[in-house]
Symmetry: C2
Subunit: 426 residues, 2 copies
């Protein structure tokens, strides 16, 4: 470096300082808890895949506009993982002979999308994915939805704050066929309907016209997305709603014929998480896919259902509803101070003893620093306790323990110290 300007991070990426990372870990713990409660196993995949994998199944927009791509030294085009489902499909197809079906897997990891960075949206973010493969049943769909609803509960989000909108693409397909739309037109119609909530009626009609639909067809499409009782024509949705009622999460659920999802690989039930006030974009989304393993080149069509929930919108939703957690600033229980260079060894011995007893202990690492500065350091780092080992303590084989919150201090034996700190363990 010659110009001595601080090198900047890449736009849309995030630096996770300990206080930022604490949120991710808190969310991850909840993910683990909820997923395992439903009997799901954790997996992970590579962050680099061939571009071909994504081209095989995602909507065009995602691949061409949103992928971070690079050339391998062998000339192959690779992409940073933009979503998990294609890797999942590849992994399941790859070992379909060995795996025990249904496969019920979850993961929490990074995704990359070349999007315009904005509130709740970065180019690099984390996502929770949860999928059941090898079964095509309303029970499997209902369970996946119930997992997301259970996460709402664990996050403290109420049905007054967040909802899950559910629809069935097959039901929609039937309705659209009755409008005399062919298969190709139906794909277009789904893409159009997916954007409906982002534009006004006039713009929707205009977009429909551009896509080659007649005005009657466009108006009929709008009507279809507003039929609030259309689910009664879908035995599968009826069953799903019934099961979700049994799971005690019905208050979060609503049928919404306007939800179709943008990705082309969905073939049945589709769902999205939304905040009730509609201030944010979809919190998460998912659905049933019938052909994914075959589309990535697998021998069999293994049906699946799953969802993905990102970390950034969830954080915004929690903040907006006053549910963002207060997280501990440190897991360190106490700071062992150093009275003087001569007494350093005693402080090291004490530190060692505490750590052997599994007490998270920081030793002050500069024996030249004055004691009051060491204590201030502990306070600034939110470490609740400090010990002082001066000549008096060493002579009597005791230690002074100070609680930085209350200011109280007492001189006790090392054995008492261990007991005290173990009792105060959180």
């Amino acid at each position: 470096m010659t110009d001595r300007q601080l090198i900047q991070g890449v736009k849309g990426t995030r630096d996770f300082y300990p206080e930022d990372w604490a949120f991710e870990m808190w969310f991850y713990e909840k993910i683990k808890e909820v997923s395992q409660l439903f009997g799901f196993q954790e997996y992970e995949g590579p962050l680099l895949e061939t571009l071909a994998l994504y081209a095989a199944k995602s909507g065009e927009e995602l691949v061409k506009k949103q992928a971070f791509t690079l050339q391998d030294r062998s000339g192959e085009t690779l992409a940073l993982r933009s979503e998990m489902t294609p890797s999942l499909a590849r992994m399941v197809a790859q070992k379909s002979g060995e795996l025990i079906f249904p496969v019920k897997w979850f993961t929490f990891g990074r995704r990359f999308r070349y999007e315009k960075p904005q509130k709740g949206r970065g180019r690099e973010f984390f996502q929770w994915d949860c999928d059941t493969l090898g079964l095509d049943s309303p029970e499997a769909d209902a369970e996946i939805i119930a997992i997301a609803a259970t996460m709402y509960q664990k996050l403290g989000l109420t049905p007054q704050e967040v909802r899950i909108k559910v629809n069935d693409r097959q039901l929609m397909q039937k309705k659209l066929i009755s409008l005399e739309l062919d298969e190709e037109a139906i794909v277009k119609a789904f893409r159009l309907i997916d954007k409906k909530d982002k534009v006004n009626r006039e713009d929707f009609l205009e977009m429909a016209k551009e896509q080659g639909f007649t005005a009657d067809q466009a108006l009929a499409m709008i009507q279809v997305t507003e039929e609030k009782n259309a689910y009664l024509d879908s035995p599968s949705l009826i069953k799903i709603f019934e099961i979700l009622k049994r799971y005690g999460v019905a208050d979060y659920i609503e049928f919404d014929p306007g939800i179709v999802r943008g990705l082309e690989y969905y073939t049945g039930t589709v769902f999205e998480g939304w905040d009730v006030k509609g201030e944010f974009r979809a919190i998460w989304g998912g659905g049933r896919y019938g052909n994914l393993t075959a589309e990535v080149g697998g021998k069999e069509k293994i049906p699946g259902v799953g969802f993905a929930m990102g970390d950034m919108v969830i954080a915004e939703i929690l903040k907006a509803n006053g549910k963002y957690p207060t997280l501990p600033q440190t897991t360190t229980k106490l700071l062992v101070t150093i009275f003087s260079l001569e007494l350093l060894d005693q402080s090291i011995n004490l530190t060692n003893e505490l750590r052997k007893n599994n007490i998270n202990t920081e030793l002050y690492l500069d024996p030249q620093t004055k004691l009051d500065k060491q204590i201030k350091y502990a306070d600034k780092k939110s470490i609740p306790w400090v010990t002082i080992l001066g000549p008096n303590e060493v002579q009597k084989n005791t230690v002074t323990l100070k609680n930085l919150e209350t200011g109280e201090q007492k001189t006790i034996s090392q054995e008492q110290l261990l007991n005290e700190l173990k009792q105060n363990s959180n």
Copy 2:
């Protein structure tokens, strides 16, 4: 897809099926435990950085030969994170006014290097990084080494299996200056010495000649790397070894004047983890760096010390020493079977009750499958318990609980069931 060939993963990347990921999570739990025991806080950084960040500080080899690079749409060259230290330096420099020093941070995340994939080495791997910044003291160096030694202990690796080789670059510098080498030649000499263990004596002398050293200088260099008592000339090393003795980990430690590390940013103590038999490459490595924050463009020189330990060599070392862990195949406690379609609702209710009591429960999701097949499924998935809710049980408000390991089964009330499973919680 037209050719219906399964799309392959990218060479050198890894698919983590649940059994593979379980090892990573096991290692990560140990990392968290050990790091927090020493009072370190967890952080993370982006996986994408500008190439400039790496060029600013790493050895040339790492950047030019080993980086996965890509062009941003704005034309800037980005690199997938090949090591953590540059990101750490950038993050610390960026907030140096707000952070409380010493900063003691750890992280466990992905790194990418375009290397030839082989045993213990992939193009995409995970690494544990642990660093103390803002202090230049032998106490800080000793603590970092003690953390790695404590990890050996937690992994069950003994001093008969693994060691930590320690040296001091400043000590080496003094020795090399006495050979009449100037600063530039010393940089070359370090790079050469770092490769010494990988080649025989003859090749080393040849390499030295190519680098412009005289035969006398080359021989003197070899001699320097073999002076087993040279640490007595380094007050800092003497202090470090003394502290490590106090920490009770001295058996793992040896002075090795042949260890200098390949990266150019090290300015003091350097260390590497090795298996005693010498069957593997270095398990991990680290050292003291004086100028990193300034080299990435920060205003101040903030001294630091740290190490990085990868997941892949550790796994090989554990296997070679019979210490690779036996990991549970599932966290699921029981499978609730479905007796018949008519009794599905009862099984859902029971499942819901169990989950409300935080018992990890899988519900069999296909009500059409025969009961014995459902039980076989639980067995194959290593789920320890199954419940059966048939017409008899439902009538009497009981449930049959079967232990798949012992084959024992009993019919009990739902309340007893909850108690039984809570007692058997691990």
